[in-house]
């Protein structure tokens, strides 16, 4: 089973409308690289000028925020689901 990256609506104009992208990367960082190599226009929306993941882009591995899992170095395995969520809003 491949690893699935779920693409939010706001990103789909860069992914030719695709809501999901399959990949086989070993880590989150590698998955993001695979994604932005395939869709270069997405690159500057994923990372800022210093190369860091944009502050307002939240990335989840299955149900967990990657910041609780070791960030970009978080390892991926077959069947994992990577979720990109722009600008979590909220307010209690």
């Amino acid at each position: 089973m491949p690893i699935v990256i779920e693409i939010p609506t706001a990103f789909r104009r860069f992914t030719e409308g695709a809501p999901k992208i399959d990949c086989s990367a070993p880590t989150i960082a590698a998955a993001l690289n695979e994604l932005t190599t395939r869709f270069p226009a997405l690159s500057r929306h994923v990372r800022d000028e210093s190369g860091q993941i944009r502050q307002f882009l939240n990335i989840y591995l299955n149900d967990e925020d990657i910041r609780f899992l070791g960030g970009e170095a978080s390892p991926l395995k077959e069947g994992d689901r990577v979720l990109l969520v722009p600008s979590i809003a909220g307010g209690s």
Binding site: P8, T9, A10, R13, H45, R54, Q55, F56, L57, N58, Y60, D63, D65, R67, F68, L83, V85, P86, S87, I88, A89, G90, G91, S92
Partner: protein, 420 residues
């Protein structure tokens, strides 16, 4: 019709007109309502307020409301209490409590934000509204939806206080309980807003919703006699309110309704969920998200959407952020109730307890004017303190029984540690 406000990206500045959207498609930062202040200066007059009732709608010009807006109800307009007794205890002359524990109709400041969000929902033709909530927001969405004829669907963490769930259910709202914490509920709501054409007040209607918080700040300034305080202590969950109080003060200065003054902003969190205060205290560039574990569940947001902006405001204003433990929260709830007769929810205990801590640290000066913001009512979080008040044994309905009780209690003068 030309609007005198529109959505603007808080990072790149790109404008997006008026629509149910909360983030910039270019940089994914959040959007904020931006006003045409030059135009407002010509139309908004402080004198016009004199003939209006004391509720949040008296500041209608400074809110993103549609043309020909008719206010639905008297929301807001809560007391600014001169806290003499609490001030005496803390050694502060000019201490005030802005008491949104008695905000109409659901006893929290969330009534203000929902009121503005629902006007936006109506404007955009959205019939179903909802929210992710730790309780207070769900209460406000449910009540105002019932009153205004929206279908309401709210998403809450499954472990929420029973009183807060009941206070949503009673209005007939659909409640979806999620196995997870608020941040997980919130992530789901971001996906739901992406998929369905619903008005999620704190997701895709968030820029409009957040403007409602300004009325808390407008009222503080007006109730101080059109003056700004020196210090404000504000509870922080998502980190939005503190920024909107600052925006309110800034707008009053722009319009010339108050004199310019530097106000120090102090943020309050529970230690069990303190990503923003931790970020301020450790001088981090970005806050680190946390897994919340605190009785202050209305502040239990481990990944606060406006955390970066709250940190920036606190630093630039010369303020500070602090957090207190759960036992300290309970103690502060009791102090507020015993000195000022205000029964605040756990978040109010956080704010009061942090204010006391900041005074002790010397970060808030005792000779300055300080406002402590209480945003919710203690009747909703009774489970946090009920164990501190065991019921006394009942007595027969006879005078001699009461006299015997008095004798017994006089023999033990420290009943529950209360003074006269």
């Amino acid at each position: 019709m030309f609007d005198y406000y529109e959505l603007r990206c808080r990072e790149c500045g790109k404008t997006w007109g008026n629509a149910p959207r909360s983030f910039c498609d270019d940089c994914f930062a959040s959007l904020e309502v931006s006003f045409d202040y030059e135009r407002l200066k010509k139309t908004a007059r402080r004198e016009n307020l004199a003939s209006r009732p004391f509720d949040m709608w008296r500041y209608a010009e400074l809110l993103p409301l549609p043309e020909n807006f008719t206010p639905p109800d008297a929301i807001g307009g809560t007391p600014l209490v001169r806290a003499h007794h609490l001030g005496q205890r803390w050694g502060v002359e000019n201490l005030y409590v802005k008491n949104d524990a008695v905000c109409f109709p659901t006893l929290s400041f969330k009534d203000r934000v929902v009121a503005v969000a629902l006007t936006a929902a109506r404007r955009f033709g959205l019939h179903t509204v909802g929210c992710s909530s730790t309780g207070n927001l769900a209460n406000a969405v449910a009540a105002q939806s019932a009153q205004q004829g929206f279908d309401a669907c709210v998403f809450i963490p499954a472990d929420l206080e029973p009183a807060k769930v009941l206070n949503t259910a009673v209005y007939g709202a659909r409640i979806v309980r999620i196995q997870g914490n608020y941040d997980q509920v919130n992530r789901l709501c971001a996906q739901i807003a992406d998929r369905f054409q619903w008005g999620l007040v704190n997701v895709n209607l968030r820029p409009y919703y957040a403007e409602g918080s300004k009325t808390h700040g407008f009222e503080i300034a007006e109730q101080l006699g059109w003056r700004l305080p020196d210090n404000v202590v504000v509870p922080m969950a998502g980190g939005s309110l503190i920024g909107k109080i600052a925006k309110a003060f800034r707008e009053l200065v722009i319009l010339g309704w108050v004199e310019n003054k530097s106000v120090q902003f102090f943020g309050a969190q529970a230690t069990g969920c303190s990503p923003i205060s931790d970020g301020v205290k450790r001088n981090l560039a970005r806050f680190e998200p946390q897994k919340p574990q605190t009785i202050a569940r209305s502040l239990a947001i481990g990944n606060p959407a406006d955390g970066p902006y709250a940190m920036k405001l606190i630093r630039e204003s010369g303020g500070w952020a602090e957090d207190i433990s759960d036992p300290e929260i309970v103690s502060a709830i009791q102090t507020l109730a015993e000195t000022e007769g205000i029964f605040a929810e756990t978040a109010g205990g956080v704010t009061a307890g942090v204010a006391e801590k900041l005074l002790a640290q010397g970060r808030i000066r005792r000779d300055e004017t300080t406002v402590v913001c209480v945003t919710g009512n203690g009747l909703k979080t009774t489970d946090a303190i009920i164990s501190h008040y065991p019921l006394s044994a009942p007595i027969p309905p006879r005078l001699e029984s009461f006299e015997a009780l008095l004798d017994q209690q006089l023999a033990v003068p420290t009943v529950a540690g209360k003074g006269a």
